[in-house]
Amino acid sequence: MSEPLIEIKDLAFSYSTRPILKSVNMTMSRGKVIAIMGGSGSGKTTLLRLIGGEIKPTAGYVKVADQVVHKLGRNDLFRLRRKMGMLFQFGALFTDLSVFDNVAFQMREHTNLPESMIRDLVLMKLHAVGLRGAYHLMPSELSGGMARRVALARSIALDPMLIMYDEPFTGLDPISLSVIGSLIRRLTDALGMTSIVVTHDVQESLKIVDYVYFLADGVIAAQGTPGEVRESVTPFVHQFVHGEEDGPVPFHYPAEAYPKDLKLERHLA
């Protein structure tokens, strides 16, 4: 087991008075793929934004490579972010730049590499995601799966130590889905980085990840390796992994008693 890259301690965050995260603790080691799962609105994306330093926590801290993220100044934060990649839900490719320029974006912004070297690097990154032949296309000409692969190539452009994936599997057909899944695993192993996958696609992510955290109501409801998770008898995990419609997460939004809402008491009485 290598040393931890990310350490999250007693992390809490709330939008004005609405608590999103309450006291979250996690450690993530280098070279691992970690999944963060949970229902919609359970604070998964907020967690990513806290790690990236986009927002500041109300309590606790996130430490990345021994630096407390929310205490960094602007320049230090930007320096840290150069070593982080983030894959947004729908890729977030720059629509006015070609595939090539998208991948070259960070190299051109942050390095003084000569154009010939940038070209070689970009083609290597695109080759890694199998889209070397598509370098001249515009983002509007790509399918959803291809756009996400390009975005993946873009986020590994500067060989980061950490990549965060925000719902990388949403809205993909089964083939693209497994392509993205295996790419995440392969790139993590090949580049020796850490990957954090926020998702609610249980089956695909259990195939590729090393460790799973379940978030519910702003706390970690369960955690474990994929094997442990599959065998788990915790009601919440069981419901989530097997996709049952009722369980600890109820089907019904909290409401008055059904007969009362329909004003049936009188007739029943």
């Binding site: 990236g52 986009e54 930007f78 320096r79 972010r81 150069r82 982080m84 990649g85 983030m86 947004f88 839900q89 729908f90 977030a92 490719l93 720059f94 629509t95 006015d96 974006f105 960070q106 912004e109 942050h110 975005a151």
Partner: protein, 265 residues
């Protein structure tokens, strides 16, 4: 009944407070853009690219409208002036109204609806599709990389477009008055040159259009950056850009005119 009155007063109050809030945000944003502009001057290629989108692509509408406005001025001016037997002054009328007022104002209004709305929509969509957030996560400041170049491109393009509008307008007036109606060509140009002063009229017109350029693009980039990241949010922001720009242009025009032309002439 009184309750309804109270709520409507509250609604008005909310809107006013909200407006003040937004104005403060806009001012802060504007200063932020200015502070982060240095980078975009160092990489002037970015600004040139945007000059193409906001300036060159607005050319057609500016040139054609300028021509038509000038032709109308020529026709109307001739109609009125010939009653007093001074139809040769039509050149003066066309040139002065274009150089002082119509050139800067009309081209700024057209610019707001052509380029301003495009800037807002583009930045708004970049925000809605998380491109700006992605840029931030790549340690690139979206204000320096996306907003500032567009702002400066607009500021550079506006006076040039206004000058082109005025020239096309004068040409349109010339076409109607001299070529079609037959006002004496020499009188047309000489009365114009006698009346239009370079420093007083033309330079002031250019200064006006510089102000309009700053106002329109500042509004456009702010609305884009501030737009709620949804389809309705972006379309609402685009509409607001055009409306606010139009009001700002006309209001500014009055203020600038009262500073520049104090009736000394």
């Amino acid at each position: 009944m009184p309750k309804r009155i109270i709520t409507s007063i509250q609604a008005v109050g909310h809107r006013i407070i909200d407006g003040i809030w937004r104005l403060g945000c806009a001012a802060r944003f504007f200063i932020l853009v200015l502070l982060k502009s240095a980078a975009s001057f160092l990489r002037f290629g970015l600004v040139i690219r945007e000059v193409y989108f906001v300036g060159v692509l607005s050319l057609i509408i500016i040139l054609v409208s300028g021509l038509f406005v000038g032709m109308v001025l020529g026709l109307q001016g001739y109609e009125t002036l010939q009653k007093y037997g001074s139809e040769s002054a039509v050149g003066t009328l066309v040139a002065l109204s274009l150089v002082r007022e119509l050139g800067p104002v009309m081209s700024a209004l057209l610019f707001a609806s052509r380029a301003g709305s495009a800037i807002t929509a583009e930045i708004g969509l970049m925000k809605a599709t998380e491109q700006l957030a992605a840029m931030g996560m790549m340690a690139v400041d979206p204000i320096a990389r996306v907003v500032a170049p567009r702002f400066w491109a607009g500021v550079i393009s506006m006076p040039l477009l206004a000058a082109l509008f005025s020239v096309m307008g004068v040409f349109g007036g010339y076409l109607v008055a001299v070529v079609f109606i037959g006002v004496d060509e020499g009188a047309f140009w000489s009365s114009m040159q006698n009346a239009v002063d370079f420093r007083y009229d033309i330079v002031n017109g250019v200064i006006k259009s510089c102000f309009f350029g700053v106002a329109v693009t500042a509004i456009a980039v702010f609305e884009g950056f501030d737009a709620p990241p949804t389809a309705e949010g972006v379309s609402g922001a685009t509409t607001r850009t055009v409306v606010t720009s139009a009001l700002a242009i006309l209001g500014l025009d009055f203020v600038l005119t009262s500073f520049m032309f104090r009736g000394v002439d």
